[in-house]
Amino acid sequence: MGNIFKLAARNLFRYKRRTMLTSMLITLGVVAVLLFISISGSFKSLMIGQITDSMLGHIQIHKKGYLASVDSLPLNRNLTGKQIDKVVQVLGEENAVEAYSMRIRLGAMFSNFTETTNIRLNAVTPTDEMKTAPLLTERILEGEQDGLLKPGELLIPELIAKGMKVKVGDGIVLVANNKDGSVNGQNFMVRGILEGISGPGGRDGMVHIDDAKALLRIGAAEVSEIAIRLKDIDQLQGVYASLQQNLGGMQNQQGQPVFEVHTWEAISPFFNIAKMIDLMTFFIKIMLVAIVLVSIMNVMIMAVYERINEIGTISAIGTLPSKILGLFVVEGFLMGVLGTAVGTIISLVSIAVMNATQISFDFGRQTGLLLSPTIGANDVILVVVIVIAIAVIASLQPAWKASKMDPITALKHV
């Protein structure tokens, strides 16, 4: 086998320029794919990280039907104490769960004593919320980040702060309808201004859960949603399936499901963008396959045509057809390996350079997002395997033709 590799390598070296051009084409394709995967992957991870770590969590559990009517933030679809206990018990058995946060979501009237507007609020237990959404405090543009908030304090979205000309330390009033339709009001101090981000809940304010209960006159344990953070987002589907099995199937006395479990993918519209990125990656891989297929096949057809007489000679002196086939397939393989090796090295160096130069970009209303492209070994291996496999496949037809060549005809070829 080593002899076939030696001979194949020498034949490639015989046509240096052609081998170099074809390998460069493959290199270019590999670089394009690996860089696209790393940059788009970085963008995707960044956005997913932003969405899950500063707002949604990885998984959310609600009472059945809550999400369908989430626009009206219905208080009558909150989870009850018994239901919360059940969820807590199930989550306690899940090793992959790092933290969870109970939230009451509510709508209220926000008044700075001169103007009034609507505000959507998340009522949380600060310690739990900070564990579940660790990047949340980084969204606090003005005001103290430590501890998130205390009872009597309020974080307001930056749009309301600007629109209502409210500053940190100002006193405001929240007025909310409770479940029975009665109205209650309470004074708060603005503790901080919260940066708005893309996606559901990205422009909501935040209060302490005890304040929300008082405002809404909720006596018993009651929450709108339970947001869950996993130790590793790669375990998302496994934990989701487990929770679905343990909670999704539970029914009330009327035979209706009690809970609904959703991953962040079902809640955030960014998931569709992420899917688009995956689709684009797929099509770029298809283009790479086409580049490799066409370029290698073209070169190998030429190689066979130019060496017909040589094929006749080695065939006449007893080289088996399978070895002739192997010889040309190995040439294609080596060209694939060369192009891929150079392409992978260039890609990895480029990724390192991009990380070192700290490239930033804007997305929607978010500015200065830092691009930190990374690429997993799996992606690199997949691209390498695809390119080399296609190089071999592309060589097969010309190699087959060479191995089937009649030695007499081949020897007569000038």
Partner: protein, 234 residues
């Protein structure tokens, strides 16, 4: 035992409705360590006959035995194996592999066809290169040596596997007079040394003058002429 035995050997080419009988039921045999030539005008069928003996082209009818094995019905794979094991080829255009050195060209059949162990192979290649007077040229590429040297290398390649039979198609056609004579002398020396049968297809009178038996082909039929020239082999 004869190296080659042909009985009623026939080769017919069919193109559409046209049938051409290139070889018409010829009988002949060739003894071991002979120096034999097939001569005849262009189109007389000498290359066809050589191709059949060389297991490159199957006969249409008749029997053909080479080194004691009937080769009439060998499939492609077995024919290649048979050639690699028993037959050496010397071509008009030398047909050395340009990307291999002289040494590697001679080594090729032992390495790629017969899979000899490395040490044994190297020893044998060097021995053959010495025998053809190219012992010190092993590292050169075919493009770096003359036509006569190329043909010497080709002879070494043909003999390196201990082939019982070497088929040479116009081996001197591309060589000048002096070089051609040297190559013919070399082949005779090799015949004497290794007891190999050399069969030529040629127009070259210098070869014809040196062989012991000449088969003259005319319109696919064969006439045998024995000469005293070139005798004295072991």
């Amino acid at each position: 035992m004869s190296v080659i035995v042909a009985k009623q050997l026939t080769k017919t080419y069919v193109t559409g409705d046209i049938k051409v009988e290139a070889i018409r039921g010829v009988d002949f045999s060739i003894e071991p360590a002979s120096f034999v030539s097939f001569i005849g005008p262009s189109g007389s069928g000498k290359s066809t006959l050589l191709n059949m003996i060389g297991c490159l082209d199957p006969p249409t009818a008749g029997l053909l035995e080479v080194v004691g094995q009937e080769i009439t019905n060998l499939n492609r794979q077995d024919a290649a194996r048979f050639r690699g094991e028993h037959i050496g080829f010397v071509f008009q255009d030398f047909n050395l592999i340009p990307v291999l050195t002289v040494f590697e060209n001679v080594e090729y059949p032992l390495q790629m066809v017969q899979s000899w162990p490395k040490e044994k192979r190297r020893e044998r290649v060097q021995e053959m290169l010495e025998a053809v007077g190219m012992g010190d040229q092993g590292n050169k590429y075919p493009s770096q040596i003359s036509g006569g040297q190329k043909q010497r290398v080709a002879v070494a390649r043909a003999l390196v596997t201990n082939a019982k039979l070497v088929l040479a198609d116009e081996p001197t056609a591309n060589l000048d007079r002096e070089t051609a004579t040297m190559v013919i002398d070399l082949m005779k020396k090799m015949r004497d040394e290794y007891q190999t049968t050399f069969v030529f297809s040629t127009h070259d009178p210098r070869i014809v003058d040196n062989v012991e038996i000449t088969f003259e082909l005319e319109d696919g039929t064969l006439h045998r002429h024995e000469t005293s020239a070139g005798g004295g082999h072991g």
